[in-house]
Symmetry: C2
Subunit: 232 residues, 2 copies
């Protein structure tokens, strides 16, 4: 509740005209219950109804197009579309433009996902996928440089996500990797080797073959232990 | 490698001029190594350099503004900014516009997060946060309707994310909830009660107080068992 002696003046909105039109249109699409495939009104009609220039409406629509929420069809004009939800996230996930706070949180988020995928993994792994992991582990054991080893490490974990069989999760993990590495490199600075936990990839693979999701989670925790230690 | 008898004709790009300018500018910002706070060239200069109209450049810049990657400052013109990474994701996460495939994947993603947060939770929970959970459990036990119970359920899980102390994770979970519920409602259709696992919120709280992250994960799995059964 506002206090009595508050000035009754509200701050002027610092939204641009495009921001405001974008907001209005978003609400309109929602209120009308428009679904993918449904046509939307013409640019000129919307401009007239909102009392703004066509340029402003075009700019706002361009944002929805970028999000994948609308698309232009030949002869049908603009229709609502099914957005690719990871698309816009992929555009902003750049370690060089994120704040250190966000990078830290993303570092943690990756740990959360690594711990959480165990059940999907056990539900969907098969002989073929275990062989794929086996090959990566063998390559890792033969690796001659730290760089080669790090690449095998990355491949092992990416393959786990592939096996887990969830595209959104996989794309999400892919986005997190560069941020995770950046954050890690920043912490390590001049150390030559990335920290390694007690449980190896080989051992994780054995658990996946013969163990339980719970054992896998415990193994993964030990594997990622140096990272968890930073949090705890 | 392309086959020899491939026609050497590449398909015409179906990108709009704005899409292409957006791509060019994104690459330019990256190649120049621009960071938050750095100024970017004037609209008119970019339009001249790219050989396109100012309107097209303005539309492309508007997209970057929407993503929070650039902002306009008084007297300084446009500068690079620190985007809010969840912002654009929040705009498209609407169960009514997502495909059923995406909804299914998001359903799983939520299960992955619930399983994965155990260690963050144990690292950051304290007496105060346990009391907060305790109150929710008590309200749940007194609940007189299924609706009231479902609200307590939601609050219990949201509070876990709050305790885990990671904003991105928390906002992410918040986004997933409506999709999860939609998917669940769709599955349940006319059933009156949401399926419940063997382990209760009360028991999860006890584990958080006196147990280990691994016990918590096992408990959470049993708690969410009816949902996992759909996957496995």
């Amino acid at each position: 509740m506002k206090e009595e002696n508050d000035l009754k003046l509200e701050p002027l909105s610092n939204l641009t005209m495009t921001d405001r039109v974008e907001g209005k249109l978003g609400k309109y699409f929602k209120d009308k219950g428009l679904e993918p495939g449904d046509p939307i009104p013409k640019e000129v009609e919307m401009a007239e109804a909102l009392g703004v220039s066509r340029n402003v409406v075009r700019e706002a629509l361009s944002r929805f197009k970028m999000l994948g929420m609308i698309e232009t069809k030949k002869r049908r004009g603009m229709i609502m579309a099914q957005p690719d939800i990871m698309n816009s996230l992929e555009r902003v996930m750049d370690p060089f433009i994120l704040s250190s706070h966000d990078r830290k949180e993303i570092f943690e988020l990756r740990l959360v996902l690594e711990m959480g995928i165990a059940h999907l993994l056990f539900a969907r792994s098969n002989e073929e996928s275990c062989q794929e992991l086996e090959k990566i582990v063998q390559r890792e054991q033969r690796a001659r440089s730290e760089k080669e080893r790090v690449l095998c490490d990355l491949e092992f974990h990416s393959t786990l996500y592939k096996i887990a069989g969830n595209d959104i999760l996989r794309r999400f993990q892919k986005l997190l990797v560069p941020i995770f590495d950046y954050e890690l490199a920043y912490e390590l600075k001049l150390k030559e080797k990335a920290p390694q936990g007690k449980v190896t990839h080989q051992e994780l693979l054995e658990i996946l073959k013969c163990g339980t999701p719970s054992e896998f989670q415990n193994g993964m925790y030990e594997h990622l232990r140096p990272h968890f230690d930073r949090i705890e």
